[in-house]
């Protein structure tokens, strides 16, 4: 379980998150909505542990461990993983090596996973060097497949992805979050659902991802405040028709 209590965060001198309370139980996936600059990415980066996002008050607990001040790699080791929107290029580090790093010593079938992500040709290229928006997303998912985190943070996983790949991205995320439906001997789908452990927090602008990934809750972040928590499709439809400002009034 991820538990965020009364979190306040500053980036430089600017307050980017205010009084955030959020609980994601094991097996739950939440969708995070909000206009540009509302603090969505800040929230994800804070959970991941980027030190420039300074926690000035409040607490983040993951799997019962207080991680408010834990370094990034300790959070990764505890099972938090992130799919970035614009990750940096690391020159001379091949994508294949990066996937290897993600697996942290576990045996993983990199070639097989890359084939599934339609990414085989990129394995020998420097990570993120000249990747298009869609290629970055596929590379990020490939890394998460190897990393196998329990809490997955997705920063706009569908942005820049062409129509051909959107369903690949969508179904992969769904699988990573144990939200796909498939036959498993001796198990009903209800049982599979009950046994879900993976947690997800997905930022979306377009809502396309909702066509592929079921979610338990939607959250709206507005001006650094989590303003609304509701059925994700309801929220999305409300935003589409009324806009963010009107939509968050339900909570204020």
């Amino acid at each position: 379980m991820l538990l965020i209590e009364d979190l306040q965060v500053k980036l430089g001198e600017r307050e980017v998150l205010r009084h955030i309370d959020l609980q994601i139980n094991a097996g739950e996936t939440h969708i995070l909505f909000g206009p540009n600059g509302s603090g969505k990415t800040s929230l994800l980066m804070t959970i991941m542990g980027y030190p420039q996002y300074r926690v000035t008050a409040g607490k983040i607990t993951f799997k019962g461990v207080d991680i408010t001040n834990a370094p990034i790699n300790e959070r990764a080791k505890l099972g938090i993983g992130m799919s970035y929107q614009r990750p940096p290029t690391v020159h001379g580090l091949k994508t294949k090596q990066m996937v290897q790093i993600c697996s942290s010593g576990r045996a993983v079938d990199i070639e097989g996973m890359a084939a599934r992500m339609n990414f085989t040709d990129f394995l020998e290229r420097d990570i993120n060097a000249g990747f298009s928006g869609g290629e970055i997303k596929r590379s990020e998912l490939l890394q998460l497949m190897a990393q196998k985190p329990d809490l997955l943070l997705f920063d706009e996983p569908e942005s820049g992805v062409d129509l051909e790949n959107i369903s690949l991205i969508g179904t992969t995320i769904s699988k990573l979050l144990q939200r796909d439906f498939q036959m498993e001997p001796g198990k009903t789908q209800v049982q599979r659902k009950r046994e879900r452990t993976k947690m997800g927090l997905i930022i979306t602008h377009t809502g396309f991802i909702l066509d592929y990934v079921t979610a338990d809750k939607g959250q709206v972040l507005f001006n650094g405040v989590l303003s609304c928590s509701n059925n994700p499709t309801d929220i999305f439809n409300c935003i589409k028709v009324m806009g963010y400002e009107e939509c968050v009034k339900c909570a204020i």
Binding site: M48, G49, Y50, P51, P71, I72, N73, R75, A76, K77, G81, M82, Y84, P87, P88, V90, H91, G92, L93, M98, I101, C102, S104, D126, Q143, Q147
Partner: protein
Amino acid sequence: MRNLNERAQEAKDKKAAIGPDVDLDTFTAEPVRHDYVHDLKKLPEKDRLRMIQAGIDAAESGRSGTYIQMDTAVVHSHAKQEGLEVIPIKEALKKYEWAREYYWKLVSVDADKYTAAAELHLHDGYVIRALPGTKAVWPVQACLYLDKDNISQYVHNMIIAEEGSELHVITGCATSPNLKRGLHVGISEFFVKKNAKLSFTMIHHWAEEVMVRPRSVGIVEEGGLFLNNYICMKPVKSLQMYPTTHLVGKGAVARFYSILVGSPGSEMDVGGRILLKAEDTRAEIIARAITNGGKIINRGDLVGEVAGVKAHLECKGLILNGGIIHAIPELQGKVDGVEMSHEAAVGKIAQEEIMYLMSRGLSEEEATSTIVRGFLSVDIPGLPPQLKAEIDRAVDLSSKDVM
């Protein structure tokens, strides 16, 4: 033309255009005796270990031939493959008329006091030659070793890839563990004939009080390819060189790659110059420099003299822990229609990259060394796998020291 000795005499006090001046008289150039070793495995273990770090394998596995010189004496010289010759230069000059044709043909004997001293004190050096059409299966290895403390070693090397041949040379320069101070002056002349391919990989493994002044010039004829790789990641007191290559035949190609690591107290002034003098010639100079307290001057100069040539220079520096990196990339286009570019960057490791890797589970230290390793790894097209592996090994060994 006046004889070489006279010209050398006149230039023996001539300071070099760049680099700190070395007082040659503070070193001893007296010949040192080392016995010839037929079986390389009989070399003392301490020396063999030092040589391995510079890419020289006494077991000769995956090598086409070997030349080893300790101080002033040749201790081993032979080629394993037919069509390849590995001969000490003094012997070559005595025995073969053709050797004289190449000697001091590209480097001027009176360029500076170092070239002059190399003529006046010549302590041998190697001649490696691939006969026309010969394709070397494995690289030839050559080692110039400093053993006696305070020695000055003056060597002259010539590498000749005859028409249509393919030759790979790995040269390791190293010092014995007990040597503190020394001077190495190495003249190298490279002749890449029509449609020949030569790769020359030099790994330097000096000591903290060693001064190094290589002087090398190459020439590449029509359709020839010259790959010149240089790795120096260990401490050295002062290193200054500016290897130059002339592309004189249609379609000739030269690529220079260098990896430098400057430790505290080290001063490196390393350049690379390629003159594109014939149509369709191409040149590339790629340099990576890291300093953790040393001073590195990284020069590059591309000269386009004919329309249609293509050349690129890339010079990247990383300051890890103090020190200076001075990048001086130069381009000279002398006619219309040349296509030349350069990019130079000096900086530090981006925090964003460290954190990205940390979010995949690496510690800060592991992330940093992964980025450094990546920075130093350059893809060198056309290099045989054994040489690629040697370079990777040298980089791996040293990038650990860097951290």
